[in-house]
């Protein structure tokens, strides 16, 4: 059974007075991370919205020890920290239980500039949790395209809409033979929490990615952040699953789509709710764009079926 939102622990890692935009999905997701991981954890962040929202030195609005590290180096920094803690523990120089090391990184630091170091850490099966909050653009610098930006989405560096598809990062990570991987949505916080707990209780390299609909970048009303998250899942633009030792288990509603028990909603409404697609949806190309999105979703589901059969 998925943990109900009302049963999540009361602990708050995100404190009042942080610098995030009102309705920021990353900050909402980080709250749930704190509830799952508890106090004995160290968080590594790369320059991003989350670092910017911590507050100005020496203040901090997140109740974790946080080290802001070089942008390209989430994987290697977390690995170095974990190796060091392990070594100090072995030498008897660590007081108390070894803390959990996790990274809290945007799609830039995961899909793009941080990909090399992350891939290497996954290949070595280093013992930490990488969490990607994917807002599908470089939001912190004012919304430029990233490797996670979907096709047709306008950003400041793809003003008329991106021409190419995003990377399939979760499957790329799965191909690193890692022990645990999950995708999550803010529309299902209990499921995100359960996946974080599962990751916390596993060893080795663990990867969790949560879709973070950024209303300033995606251009929708802030109060619709959870609605957009739900729409993304219901139309299949964001697929929910987890994989333990390479074996995929789907989370509903994605499970129903994969099994053919239900069809995803048309992405038309999901796309229309977001200003970033408005240029692509204008005029005679509208149906073509929606169909193209739907057919990409069908392809992604087909890839997942192949993975789950393996």
């Amino acid at each position: 059974m998925t943990t109900a939102i009302k049963n999540l622990p009361r602990d708050e890692i995100v404190m009042a007075g942080n610098g995030a935009c009102g309705g920021c999905p990353a900050t909402a997701a980080l709250r749930i991370v704190g509830k799952a991981f508890g106090p004995n954890a160290i968080c590594l962040m790369t320059p991003s919205c989350s670092v910017a929202s911590i507050g100005l030195l020496p203040k901090s609005s997140f109740n974790y020890p946080i080290l802001n590290i070089c942008f390209a180096a989430a994987g290697s920094s977390a690995a170095g920290m974990e190796y060091a803690l392990e070594s100090l523990q072995k030498k008897g120089r660590l007081s108390g239980e070894k803390p959990l090391v996790f990274t809290w990184i945007g799609d830039g630091g995961t899909y793009d500039i941080g990909f090399q170091a992350l891939s290497a850490a996954a290949e070595r099966n280093d013992d930490f949790i990488h969490i990607c909050y994917n807002n599908e653009a470089y939001s912190n610098t004012g919304v430029q395209r990233s490797g996670a930006t979907p096709r047709f989405a306008a950003t400041t560096t793809t003003p008329t809409g991106k021409q190419v598809e995003k990377k399939n990062m979760p499957l790329l990570m799965l191909d690193h033979h890692i022990p645990y991987l999950a995708t999550a949505s803010l529309a299902n916080p209990g499921d995100f929490y359960d996946k974080l707990i599962k990751a916390k209780n596993s060893k080795g390299f663990r990867y969790i990615e949560i879709l973070a609909p950024c209303y300033t970048g995606w251009k929708f009303a802030a109060e619709d952040m959870i609605n957009i998250s739900r729409k993304a899942v219901n139309c299949g633009a964001w697929l929910l699953f987890e994989a333990e030792n390479g074996k995929i288990e789907f989370t509903n509603p994605t499970r129903k789509f994969v099994e053919g028990a239900a069809s995803p909603e048309s992405p038309a409404e999901y796309l229309s709710m977001q200003g970033r697609f408005s240029a692509a949806l204008k005029g005679e190309n509208r149906d073509q764009v929606i169909n193209s999105m739907a057919s990409q979703i069908a392809d992604d589901l087909q890839s997942l079926r192949r993975y789950s059969a393996n």
Partner: protein
């Protein structure tokens, strides 16, 4: 005291082992490669109580060391040339965070064109990263300096780069005397806990700051880097008291007492240059050698104290200071002695670029031809 007869790269690994390092992250690059191989072998066999992280590049190597230092571990990496250049932004982070890291850089010329042999363009191009830079001219000095580097770094909380010339030192074998481990442990007692990223005291590090606080951080680093000279001197003196070894502190001198003519150089050239001094002395030129051991901080006062009024100084540079009058050490020395410009004559010869041969005769010739000294 144990005797070791091995290559420079293996001597580095032994020094790292003796320093009781907790975590090594490194990526192989010629001519540093066998440092990595030896540390991997020593950790895997259990001979060295340390974890070795085989990263996928040098940027990651330095990033791993930085994060290890954030939990109070003693970390180490070694690199060379392009690897050092690839680390560049993380070098700034390490000094900005005041992490007491130690790195060995096996000096090698830089790309392009591609070459594998020694000069100092790699480390000297990193001179403003806030790392202290020490240069060695023998394998015994390499061993001693790695231990002293931890002593220094952990007291001033500024990272230290130990430099040794590629192949000339990294691949040649020399006898090295290793002090007993108890003596080394006494020398390198752990300093108060540097575990900053600690759940017991959650706080944010290296995060955003404005023009109100940022200048203070930089000013403090500027002052502490300059004042690190005192701890470098202390490290050399405490080490001598405990082990009997002496390689100089900020500088080392040879036959300088009555000299009016001087050779100033860094790295392995400082070993060869002793022969030049002897040769020039035989020819009646009162010559002395100043080896710059600490390039950062630059030992301006120590150098000036050795040089009398009327001194003639030949700076031998194994690098080009592109867009300047000569080599980088030459420019630094000139700037530091500017107030005595009327009383000291400074000349420069660039040699040994990309591993090209340097011998004592060439260095002596540089002196005699600069001042038209007849043989």
């Amino acid at each position: 005291m144990k005797k070791l007869f091995d290559t420079g790269c293996h001597v580095v690994a032994q020094a790292v082992k003796c320093a009781d390092v907790d975590m090594v992250a490194a990526y192989p690059i010629t001519p540093q490669t066998s440092v990595v191989e030896e540390i991997a072998a020593l950790t895997e066999s259990g001979e060295m109580n340390c974890r070795f992280l085989p990263v996928e590049g040098e940027h990651s190597a330095m990033a791993a060391c930085v994060a290890a230092a954030a939990v109070g571990a003693r970390a180490f990496t070694a690199t060379s040339s392009q690897g050092l250049l690839y680390m560049h932004e993380v070098l700034h982070m390490a000094s900005g965070c005041r992490f007491p890291l130690v790195m060995v850089n096996v000096n090698r010329a830089v790309f392009a064109p591609w070459t594998l042999w020694a000069d100092h363009s790699d480390s000297l191009s990193q001179r403003d990263t806030g790392w202290l830079q020490l240069y060695c001219c023998s394998l015994q000095e390499v061993f001693n300096t790695i231990l002293q580097a931890y002593y220094i770094a952990e007291r001033v909380r500024i990272p230290v780069m130990v430099n040794m010339d590629g192949f000339i030192l990294s691949h040649c074998r020399m006898i090295v005397n290793m002090p007993d481990q108890e003596i080394i442990d006494k020398f390198l007692q752990r300093q108060p806990n540097g575990w900053i990223a600690n759940p017991a005291n959650p706080s944010a590090y290296a995060c955003v700051t404005g023009a109100d606080l940022y200048p203070g951080f930089r000013e403090e680093l500027f002052n502490d880097t300059k004042n690190a000279d005192k701890i470098i001197v202390e490290a050399a003196s405490v080490y001598r008291d405990l082990t009997g070894f002496w390689d100089g502190d900020l500088i080392d001198t040879y036959r300088c007492d009555d000299a009016d003519t001087f050779i100033v150089t860094i790295g392995s050239m400082a070993a060869e240059a002793r022969l030049s001094i002897d040769l020039l002395r035989e020819q009646g030129v009162k010559t002395g050698l100043i080896k710059i051991r600490s390039f950062r901080p630059f030992p301006a006062a120590a150098l000036s104290a050795v040089l009398p009024d009327g001194a003639r100084v030949m700076v031998l540079d194994r690098n080009y200071g592109l867009g300047t009058e000569g080599g980088i050490v030459f420019s630094e020395l000139k700037a530091s002695l500017f107030n005595r410009a009327a009383k000291i004559e400074i000349a420069n010869q660039i040699m040994g670029i990309g591993g090209s041969d340097v011998n004592y005769q060439m260095m002596a010739d540089a002196v005699t031809s600069a001042w038209d000294i007849r043989r």
